[in-house]
Amino acid sequence: MMAQITILEGINRALADAMAADETVLCFGEDVADPEDGGVLGVTKGLSSRFGEHRVRSTPIAEQAIIGAAIGVSLGGFKPVAEIMLMNFTTVAMDMIVNHAAKLRFMSGGQTNVPIVIRTMTGSGFANGGQHSDYLEAWFAHTAGLKVVAPSNPADAYGLLLSAIDDPDPVLFIENLPTYFTKGEAPAAGHRVPIGKASVLAEGADLTIIAYARMVQEAKAATEALAGQGIGVELIDLRSIAPWDRETVLASVARTGRAIIVHEAVTPFGVGAEISAVINESLFGALKAPVKRLGAAFCPVPFSRPLESAFAPTAATIEAAAKALLA
C-alpha cells in the first residue's frame, strides 16, 4: 500500500516543494507563519521556519491589502500564494480579485500578467453558520481571467496546487474544511495535476455523476450503494471548475445518457447550471433523462445541526436522485 497522507498534508507539501524548487514562490496570509502557529489549522506549519518570514509572512487582517500585495509582488516577478482564510472573506477582496487580478493581463494588452494563487477554505458541516461556509466558486468561474480548482483528495490537492503555482494566470484554489483530515494516497514528489482535466473515479454505463470537492466523497458513497443495486455510475471528479473538462464529461454522458451534477453551493445560478446547459447544448436529443442538478438548499448556511445536515447534498440524496432519473 502507498503511504497515506491527509489533504492538509498534501497542501503543506505542495507549498514546501514549490518553495524549495523556486525561490520566487511566496506564501502569505493571516497567521500563516510559525510564530502564529502556521495557520489556525496548521496548513502552512513549518514553512516560515524553513524558508524565512520574508517569504512566509503573516499579515494584518486586511484581505484587500493581501490580494493587492499578491498582485503587486507578482508584477514584480514573484509567484505568491496568498491565503484568504475562508471563502466568505473573499467578499472583502472582490475588487482586487475580479477588477484587477483577473483583468490586468487583458487590460495591459498582455504586457503584464498576474501569476498568483489564492488559497481559500470553506464548507458546511462544522456548525460555523451563515458567514463562514459558503461555496462561491460560480462567481469566480463567471469571471474571465480566473481559473478555479477544488480538489477532493490529497494527491489532487498536491498536484493541482503545484499546477496552480506554475500557472501564469491567477488561480483560485478552494479547500474544504471538513475534509482537511481525509486521507488518501501520497503523491510522488513533483506530481502535477493539469488544470482543466477531470478524473474518472468509477466507470459505469447507466448514469454519470459529476462532483467536486467534498461532494465527491458523498457521490462515491452513493456510487457504491447504487452499484450494490446493479446501477452502474460513471463518477467524475471535476477537480477544475474553470476551465472544466468538457471532453471527459460529454464523452461520459454521451455513453450513459444521464447526468447528475452535485455541488455544495446553492443550486440556482450555480456551477451545475453551466454544466447542465453545456450538456444539453452538446448532447441534444441524445439524453435519456433530463440533466439533474443537486446543490444546497437555497438559503444561507444554517447553524442548527439538523438544518445544516439537510442543507447540502448527501450520499442518500444523490442515490435517491439517481434512482429517480432511472425510474
Partner: protein, 325 residues
C-alpha cells in the same frame, strides 16, 4: 470626569461581569463534556468592557457585536435562556437556531447584529445610528470590535462616515492584544488604536479596559456626547484574552508569562474585592448573587438542551419574507 458610578451601578456592573465569567466557564465545560458542539470564542478576561459600557445604555440603545460577543450580549441583556437555546441550535433560541453563536440577534435588548466578519459591525452600526439621528429618538449605538479589526477597510470607512455625519455611535475597540494567532503589535502600525481617531477628527481615548471606573467614565462621556448630538467617539479598551482564539486552540503562540500575569490580574475578582472593601456589598451578598447566576445558567442550559430542534422546513423560511415554495 472620572466620577465613579454610585454603588448600585457598581453592583449592576459587577453582576454583569460575574454573569459573563460564569457563563464563559459553563460554556467551555458544556463543550468540553460534549453536550454542545459549536465554535466558541471565549470573552474571558474582557468582562469589564461591555459591563461598564452597558451601564450607560438602556434597552432601547443598539449594539452591533462580533463572534466573540457573548459578553457584549449578556451585558446588554440578552436573556440567558434564549441565548443558550440559540447556542444549542434549538427553535427556542433567539434566532430559532438558524444563526448560532456568531449571529445572535435580539432586538428587544438592542442586540441588532452579531457578525462573523471582522470589521463589519461598524458600518452597520452607523446605519442604526443614522436612523436615530433621523428620528431624533435619542438612542445611541455601540459597535464592538477587536484590535485586529482596526486594520481592515470597513473600520476606516465607518469611522470617517460617522464623523462626517456626526452620528450617535460609539466605537468600542476591545484590544485584547491578539487577532487570532497574530499579536497586535505584529499587525498594527499604530502604537495605540485610539490615536487613529484623530484621522477622523473624532475624540479617541485609550482606557484600561480591565478598570471598571476608567472604562465607565470613558463610555459615559462618549454616550453623553453621542446623545447630545456631538457625534462619534473611538474608545480603545485595553484588555487581554485569557484563552486561545477559539475553543480548542492550543494557544502555543501566546507567551505563557504574559498570559499568567493577565490571569493573575483577573478583573472580576479584583472588582469583587473592591466592592467588599468599599462596603458596597458583603461577601455573602455577592456569593448569593453568584449563586443565583449559576442557577439561572443551570436553568438556561437545561432549557436549551430540552428544547426542540427546528424543523427542516426552516430552510425555506426567513430567506425572504415569503416562504420559498
Amino acid at each position: 470626569m472620572t466620577k465613579r458610578p454610585d454603588a448600585a451601578t457598581q453592583l449592576a456592573i459587577y453582576r454583569r461581569m460575574a454573569l459573563i465569567k460564569a457563563n464563559d466557564e459553563r460554556s467551555r465545560k458544556v463543550i468540553m463534556t460534549g453536550r454542545l458542539v459549536m465554535p466558541y470564542y471565549s470573552p474571558r478576561g474582557q468582562e469589564v468592557i461591555p459591563s461598564a459600557v452597558s451601564a450607560n445604555l438602556d434597552d432601547s440603545d443598539y449594539i452591533c457585536t462580533i463572534y466573540r460577543g457573548t459578553h457584549d450580549m449578556l451585558a446588554k441583556g440578552v436573556p440567558l435562556k434564549d441565548l443558550w437555546a440559540e447556542l444549542a441550535g434549538r427553535v427556542t433560541g433567539t434566532c430559532k437556531g438558524k444563526g448560532g453563536p456568531m449571529h445572535i440577534t435580539h432586538p428587544k435588548s438592542g442586540v441588532m447584529v452579531t457578525t462573523g466578519i471582522v470589521g463589519s459591525s461598524m458600518p452597520i452600526a452607523n446605519g442604526l445610528a443614522w436612523s436615530s439621528q433621523l428620528k431624533g429618538d435619542g438612542r445611541v449605538t455601540v459597535a464592538y470590535f477587536g484590535d485586529g479589526a482596526s486594520n481592515i477597510g470597513a473600520f476606516h470607512e465607518a469611522l470617517n462616515m460617522a464623523s462626517v455625519w456626526k452620528l450617535p455611535v460609539v466605537f468600542v475597540c476591545q484590544n485584547n492584544e491578539w487577532g487570532e494567532h497574530t499579536a497586535y503589535r505584529k499587525a498594527t502600525a499604530a502604537a495605540r488604536i485610539a490615536d487613529r481617531a484623530a484621522a477622523y477628527a473624532m475624540p479617541g481615548v485609550r482606557v484600561d479596559g480591565n478598570d471598571v471606573f476608567e472604562t465607565y467614565a470613558a463610555a459615559r462621556e462618549a454616550v453623553d456626547r453621542a446623545r447630545a448630538g456631538g457625534g462619534p467617539t473611538l474608545i480603545e479598551a485595553m484588555t487581554y484574552r485569557f484563552h486561545g482564539h477559539i475553543f480548542g486552540d492550543a494557544d502555543a503562540y501566546m507567551d505563557p508569562a504574559r498570559k499568567a500575569a493577565a490571569i493573575a490580574a483577573d478583573p472580576v475578582p479584583r472588582f469583587r474585592a473592591h466592592l467588599i472593601a468599599e462596603g458596597h456589598a458583603s461577601e455573602e451578598e455577592l456569593a448569593a448573587m453568584e449563586a443565583r447566576i449559576e442557577a439561572e445558567i443551570d436553568e438556561a442550559v437545561e432549557h436549551a438542551l430540552a428544547s426542540d430542534f427546528p424543523d427542516v422546513a426552516e430552510l425555506r423560511r426567513d430567506v425572504f419574507a415569503m416562504e420559498i415554495a
